[in-house]
């Protein structure tokens, strides 16, 4: 038996240990993050899957725990991403201004994850939720920009306040802060309000339209090793909130008979569809590889929300599996980009090219990650997208199907762009001779994640069986699984068979290739140029404005949401100026006067 409380305390303590050791030598602090996150992940996974997590609390005040399959699913997955990414920390720690603080915050935000997913009390959950937000908020400015943290915090605050109000309303209804009691007790109009509040919170955390603008800013500017954690792990907190809203609360809303779907759910699905489309369109036109992946996270967040909002067990299963596959794929892709960023000093595609010549392993990791992200077999992304397609088609949602397929085909476009512009092509002269493959310690997690991408694609049933338990816990029928097959609503899938077929195809192609005459090796500058002599790599490498023809069609409409938030920001500033003008003038007596008036007004009914 292992006590969750003990794990939490160990995690918190190791955070402070990391800080102290980080003061001595910055690398020691980073190594503590590896040890600590690996320990937390492996003990959670081991004791979790053997059903021996202990929920008794003896030291921590107010905190109570419960073990649910849902919470365990999220906790194990997120700590796995933390554990994998932590291998990058020692290599990046020298770039930070406050290395000790980085190591500490990294571990503390992971400790928060344990708290959020294993508690049965809303206030404790909210406390740890905020704990994660605050720790990660201080992690983000260690990268490029302070503004990113502000933007991240502003949107997180929207989510947090929405969550807090929802919690208070459920407290009113149930009389206690218990999660299950609160969700069960809410009904009537209150249910609708709580539903909306929770959905707002989920959208803000997951970065779905229209609360998505923080994603590219935060992901793009966060420290390289923290971006995969943000995208692969922390935004999935939103999915957790979304499950609470979409599955556990059933607000009385008008049921659309033709779709067999409540209006509330359908509206969420529509917004999820818009996230998919807008995320895809914005990802296509990014120049920074990290921002591109950030927008792809927005699009994939849309998939997850859409799958949950459909309310069928196959949709739920697809949503949960998409959380896993997307976390693995985006984690691997971000890590590969981070490795490139470390070796070259930039992640802008227009400044890079031909990285594959010196970093082939990183390239293969990225390739496997994007195959999964684009939903192509034999990787995990295909299985989860297949399940989501099944759910969408089962409901006959034509417009959403168009959005889903747009996101799916569009992902071919945006994931290919870094592949072509950053990895392939001619090596830029400024990197010649100095570029090296990433160090072994960085290759380990990348290779493990690639392996996981493959395993999720070939043997998905290992994961889907556990997801079935989660689904049953949520009160739905499990998905029918064979030894290797998955039974959908309109078809059956055998991932192993597809993989074997692909393997046979590749073997045949390889035999054809190897039997034929050997090719003459030429350099990448010796290409067809209509007879012209070109010697500079920049002229030969096509990386700027990659999708110019399609970008041209919508480039005028890309800033509407940003403009909206900008004007909102101006309004807030104006309001702040008004407040300042009236209350905080250079005459203190006026301020005191107003404060007295307000206190008087507040206490009017009670005391005065």
């Amino acid at each position: 038996m292992a006590s969750i409380e003990l794990l939490l305390i160990i995690a918190l303590a190791s955070g402070f240990l990391a800080y102290l050791l980080g003061r001595v030598n910055r690398v020691y602090g980073a190594i503590v993050t590896i040890v600590s996150s690996m320990f937390v992940f492996s003990s959670l996974a081991y004791f979790g899957f053997t059903d021996s997590l202990d929920t008794t609390v003896s030291i921590l005040p107010y905190v109570t725990f419960q073990v649910t399959y849902l919470g365990m699913f999220f906790a194990v997955m997120i700590t796995f991403i933390y554990a994998m990414v932590s291998f990058f920390n020692p290599m990046f720690i020298k770039d930070y201004k406050y290395p000790g603080a980085y190591s500490m915050l990294y571990i503390l935000s992971m400790a928060g994850v344990i708290g959020v997913f294993f508690t049965d009390n809303f206030m404790v959950m909210f406390f740890f939720f905020e704990f994660i937000v605050w720790t990660s908020m201080f992690l983000i400015p260690l990268g490029h920009s302070r503004k990113a943290a502000v933007s991240y915090y502003a949107f997180s605050a929207v989510g947090s306040f929405a969550l807090l109000f929802a919690i208070f309303m459920m407290r009113e209804a149930a009389g206690s802060f218990g999660i299950n009691a609160g969700l069960a007790a809410i009904s009537g109009t209150n249910a609708i309000v709580v539903f909306i509040l929770l959905i707002v919170s989920a959208f803000a955390k997951l970065g779905a339209f229209p609360l998505h603008t923080w994603l590219p800013i935060a992901h793009g500017n966060a420290p390289h090793p923290f971006s995969p954690v943000l995208s692969g792990a922390l935004v999935k907190l939103g999915a957790f909130v979304a499950v609470m809203a979409l599955i556990k609360i059933t607000p009385n809303s008008y049921v659309i008979v033709a779709l067999d779907l409540p209006l509330a759910q359908y509206l969420v699905a529509i917004f999820a569809g818009l996230s998919i489309v807008f995320g895809t369109l914005m990802a296509i036109r990014q120049d920074d590889a990290k921002k591109l992946l950030a927008y792809s996270s927005m699009s994939h967040g849309g998939y997850i929300l859409l799958a949950f909002s459909l309310g069928s067990s196959i949709g739920l299963s697809g949503g949960f599996y998409h959380i896993v596959t997307h976390a693995l794929a985006t984690g691997a892709a971000f890590l590969a980009i981070a490795a490139v960023g470390r070796q070259t000093g930039t992640t802008k595609m227009s400044e890079l090219g031909g990285v594959i010549q010196k970093m082939p392993v990183t390239y293969v990791v990225y390739l496997i990650a994007i195959i999964s992200m684009a939903g192509i077999p034999p990787m995990g992304g295909f299985i989860s997208k297949w399940l989501i397609f099944q759910a969408v088609i089962d409901k006959g949602l034509i417009l959403l199907a168009a959005a889903v397929f747009f996101g799916s085909i569009g992902s071919f476009l945006y994931v290919f762009r870094p592949l072509a512009a950053l990895f392939l092509g001619q090596e830029k002269p400024q990197f010649k001779g100095i570029l090296k493959e990433a160090p072994v310690i960085m290759l380990i997690p990348m290779i493990v994640l690639s392996g996981m991408n493959l395993v999720t694609g070939i043997f998905p049933n290992i994961f889907l069986q556990f997801i079935n338990k989660v689904i049953v816990e949520l009160g739905m029928a499990p998905v029918v699984l064979g030894t290797y097959t998955i039974q959908g609503t309109n078809g059956i899938l055998d991932p192993l068979q597809i993989t074997i077929a692909f393997g046979i195809g590749v073997v045949i192609a390889f035999i054809i290739f190897i039997l034929l005459k050997k090719s003459k090796q030429v350099g990448l500058m010796d290409t067809y140029t209509a007879g012209n002599f070109i010697y500079s790599e920049e002229l030969m490498h096509y990386s700027v404005d990659f999708y110019a023809p399609i970008e041209r069609l919508y480039e005028k409409h890309t800033t509407h949401v940003q403009d909206m938030y900008k004007s909102l920001e101006n309004k807030v500033k104006e309001f702040g100026n008004v407040v300042k003008y009236f209350f905080f003038t250079n005459k203190p007596e006026i301020t005191v006067f107003w404060i007295l008036i307000i206190i008087g007004a507040l206490l009017w009914g009670d005391l005065l």
């Binding site: 034509i398 747009f406 072509a420 392939l424 597809i498 046979i504 590749v506 045949i508 096509y542 069609l553």
Partner: protein, 301 residues
């Protein structure tokens, strides 16, 4: 398992031979259309074997690996194709989405290899191919969703059997609007004339293929023949009621492919943004209208 895999490889080989012959005959037909004698019907075979016999140039391992992955992925996809009701390797597992996404492995391999050649024209060609795919696949998928929702199965052979059952029309009749969209999408998928922006020999020097010669080009040609076989046989199975026996399949296959090449012979090429705008203007609208009237109103002929 192993036996059906071999069976599948047989289907892929059958597809290669079939499509290469049909494409050769179609070259002859377009020759006749232009008052020429036209090449031999087996000219495509000669071209491919000639390419395989030449000594090629290679631009590094990713260039070769991409070609192998492309051909391998496409062979794997073709293995799942149901040719007739009985001539298929994996009876229950010929899910539509396998074709839609496994074919993308081949495409990705080719795109990767082309970009790996370091030629900007190849990257432009890949960009155009992906953009075209984004244009034509959405309307097509919407039509397919309609069909799957109506029949309750996504197995290609299941859909063919559904159309052969008494009382059911072929979907080209049952869903006439959807069939128009499917034909347009098929033309774009096959790279037929108004939509072949990504090959464009006079403009971007045959796009993705610009750096290939010798065996790599030969393997890509084989890959393309099999890709076309997959796309046309999917259309035959989805909209023309599949085939009870091999003879009917050959007739339908030849009719579809020849009709499309005849249409493409009289068209000039679109610009790439015109392709995108065209597909998002009419076919997408038609496909969604078809979906609505078929699923929610139940108007199926």
């Amino acid at each position: 398992m192993m036996l059906s895999m071999l069976y599948g490889v047989g289907i892929a080989f059958f597809g290669f031979v079939l499509h290469t012959s049909v494409a050769g005959i179609n070259r002859k037909i377009s020759g006749r259309l232009q008052k020429r004698y036209g090449p031999k019907w087996y000219q495509e075979f000669l071209d491919i074997f000639k390419l395989l016999s030449k000594r090629a140039t290679s631009h590094g391992w990713i260039f070769d690996f991409g070609v192998i992955m492309a051909l391998g992925g496409i062979i794997a996809t073709a293995m799942f194709i149901p040719v007739t009701n009985n001539f298929l390797a994996f009876p229950d597992f010929d899910n539509f989405f396998i074709f839609a996404y496994l074919i993308a492995v081949g495409m990705l391999g080719m795109a990767m290899s082309a970009s790996g050649s370091g030629n900007p024209l190849a990257s432009i060609g890949v960009m155009r191919a992906l953009t075209t795919m984004l244009a034509y696949d959405i309307p097509y998928m919407v039509v397919i969703v309609t069909i799957i929702k109506l029949t309750g199965t996504s197995s290609i052979s299941g859909l063919a059997l559904y159309q052969q059952a008494a009382g059911n029309n072929w979907f080209i009749v049952a869903l006439p609007l959807g069939a128009i969209v499917a034909v347009l999408a098929l033309m774009a998928g096959l790279g037929k004339k108004p939509f072949e922006t990504y090959i464009a020999p006079a403009e971007i020097a045959s796009g993705p293929l610009v750096e290939y010669g010798g065996k790599q080009l030969g393997m890509l040609f084989i890959m393309m023949e099999i890709t076309h076989f997959i796309e046309v046989s999917l259309f035959v199975n989805l909209f023309l009621g599949g085939a009870e026996n091999i003879f009917i399949f050959l007739v339908k296959y030849f009719a579809v492919y020849t009709a499309l090449s005849l249409i493409s012979n009289v068209y000039a090429r679109f610009k790439i943004d015109q392709v995108v705008l065209f597909f998002y203007k009419w076919p997408l609208l038609i496909a969604i209208v078809q979906g609505f009237i078929a699923i929610y109103l139940g108007w199926v002929i």
